[in-house]
């Protein structure tokens, strides 16, 4: 059998993806939730465009806006409960079982998260695509935009994972990490551009959001899918690299301190 460490983590991701598909009912309910959300947003944006009397807002047609939301919602709703899982590992002592394996804890969690997230994202995208094809019809994404999207989306997932992983590690010091998780996820939703593209934000807010890593996880990939653009690609890539260094650095520091604090939970 292959001794390549990549095989180990790829297989962990593959197993996590299969595990996530085990409950067909949950997969269907996730897709149904996505369809409902998109229908509501479509109605809202239809009213906004009608009231503004504009065919474009922030450079987006109504079709592009709805497709943008398909992507941002698919990204956001595919986010696994990484920080809560780590929090639970720490509190219940399940971390001990993980540390008995010839594996890196962080890489194991990353592989599991990516495996789960790819499945969830694919299901959400499929459901969203089906709904908006019926409601607003297709758009024509550019080939270059699709390639840039495909390149940046996995990096966005890794940056987001690092953010949640860092929050999960705080369980070594905090009673509960739920508060931090909520703040982080709301920042990702709002500053990340989940509800609307950054082009629609007021100029000052737009300028701040573009300088935060959150936009590179949600807005960047979704914008590239819908409308392409090498400037957006460059900006997103720079912010993703910054996010990798920022969150990666925090994770490394926290993990080093946290593993020194591992305590015996008895039993």
């Amino acid at each position: 059998m292959n001794a390549n460490p990549i095989t180990k983590y790829t297989w962990i991701g593959y197993t996590a993806a299969r595990s996530n598909l085990a409950y067909v009912g949950e997969v269907i309910s996730r897709a149904a939730f996505m369809a409902v959300i998109l229908y509501i947003f479509m109605r809202l944006w239809t009213v906004v465009y009608a009231e503004a009397g504009a065919s474009r807002l922030g450079g987006f047609t109504i079709q592009q806006m709805i497709w943008y939301l398909v992507l941002t919602e698919s990204i956001m709703l595919s986010s696994p409960r990484v920080s809560m899982e780590i929090d639970e590992d720490v509190r219940t002592g399940r971390l001990s079982v993980q540390l008995l394996r010839p594996l890196s804890y962080a890489l194991t969690r990353l592989a599991q998260t990516l495996g789960e997230r790819i499945v969830r994202f694919a299901v959400n995208l499929f459901a969203g695509t089906a709904v908006v094809l019926i409601l607003v019809g297709p758009i024509r994404p550019s080939l270059s935009g699709l390639i840039m999207f495909t390149f940046l989306l996995p990096v966005a997932f890794v940056v987001d994972f690092l953010g949640y992983f860092a929050i999960g590690l705080c369980a070594f010091w905090l009673e509960s990490t739920a508060g931090l998780m909520i703040i982080y996820s709301r920042f990702t939703m709002l500053a990340g551009g989940m509800l609307m593209p950054l082009e629609v934000f007021p100029p000052r807010l737009q300028s701040i959001a573009r300088r935060l890593p959150f936009s590179s996880m949600v807005y960047g990939p979704a914008r590239l899918f819908v409308a392409g653009g090498t400037d957006v690609f460059r900006q997103t890539l720079i912010m993703q690299i910054a996010g990798l260094f920022l969150f990666g650095g925090i994770v490394l520091g926290l993990q080093r301190l946290a593993f020194k604090r591992i305590q015996n939970h008895g039993g």
Partner: protein, 263 residues
């Protein structure tokens, strides 16, 4: 090089922080005070003691999860906390209250994953898996999701999963907790058989006298982080004739609490 488990003057203190308003009080709690022990390869040892005696802390140091405050440990020639990932290839562990199987997938899928995790050669993996399926009678539920298995079936699969990479040392922490009489009896028999046939070193912690009686040949009792008794089970039976092992252990615990040493 000594291939079993060797422990010399092992000690582990935890710092306990308490806040009294804005004042921070830090106190030191000794979980393991001083443990020295030598377990030769292939031996099965029950490591027992009352709750809070330091058993789990010791196991966590032996498996490299915890760093000791002082002392020396060698497991299969490895220093656990320094060589944790290398040591992991040579040890297995079963925690009765924690599962290593993927809950929504069949045990067979976890076995496939473990084969990759431990870099087991395909032919070796298939041979070991077949042997475990046969001995642990896993065939009927190998392809059934773990969530649909009974606790007895799950624990058989758990132990089999921990043996898949043919570890030389197996740590068992309350492996039969929650099992019914028949399932407990079956599991003990399987562990005992694997220990004898494969020369596996077994390090068992359990509050169940039946586990100790069936699986172990030697018993080490600890209390307040120190060894208070280390003897062969056969020798204990001679010392306390007419008593069951459970009664013997109860007497040892009582005398330890009353006088600080076994009678």
């Amino acid at each position: 090089m000594f291939r079993g488990v060797e422990i010399e003057h092992l000690k582990k203190d935890f710092l306990l922080t308490r806040w009294n308003g804005l004042r921070r009080n830090v106190s030191e709690v000794s979980a393991v005070a001083d443990i020295s022990l030598s377990i030769s390869s292939g031996q099965s040892v029950a490591f027992i003691g009352p709750n809070g005696a330091g058993k789990s802390t010791t196991i966590k140091m032996l498996t490299g999860i915890l760093h000791p405050t002082a002392g020396r440990v060698s497991v299969m020639g490895f220093i656990p906390w320094r060589d944790r990932r290398h040591l992991a290839y040579h040890i297995g562990a079963v925690f009765g209250q924690r599962s290593q199987l993927w809950y929504h997938l069949p045990p067979g899928d976890t076995f496939e994953l473990l084969a990759r995790v431990y870099n087991i050669r395909r032919s070796d993996f298939e041979r070991t898996r077949e042997a475990l399926i046969e001995r642990f009678a896993l065939g009927p539920f190998l392809d059934v999701p773990v969530r649909k298995l009974s606790l007895g079936q799950r624990m058989r699969a758990e132990v089999a999963a921990s043996l898949l990479h043919r570890p030389k040392v197996l740590f068992l922490d309350e492996p039969t907790i929650g099992l019914d009489v028949l399932a407990r009896h079956e599991l003990r028999g399987l562990i005992q058989e694997w220990n004898r046939q494969e020369g596996l070193t077994v390090f068992l912690t359990s509050h169940d006298a039946g586990d100790i009686e069936h699986v172990a040949e030697r018993v080490v009792v600890i209390n307040h982080g120190r060894i208070v008794l280390d003897d062969q089970i056969a020798a204990l039976r001679c010392r306390y004739p007419g008593s069951t092992l459970e009664q013997i252990i109860a007497r040892i615990y009582t005398s330890v609490n009353e006088r600080g040493g076994p009678s």
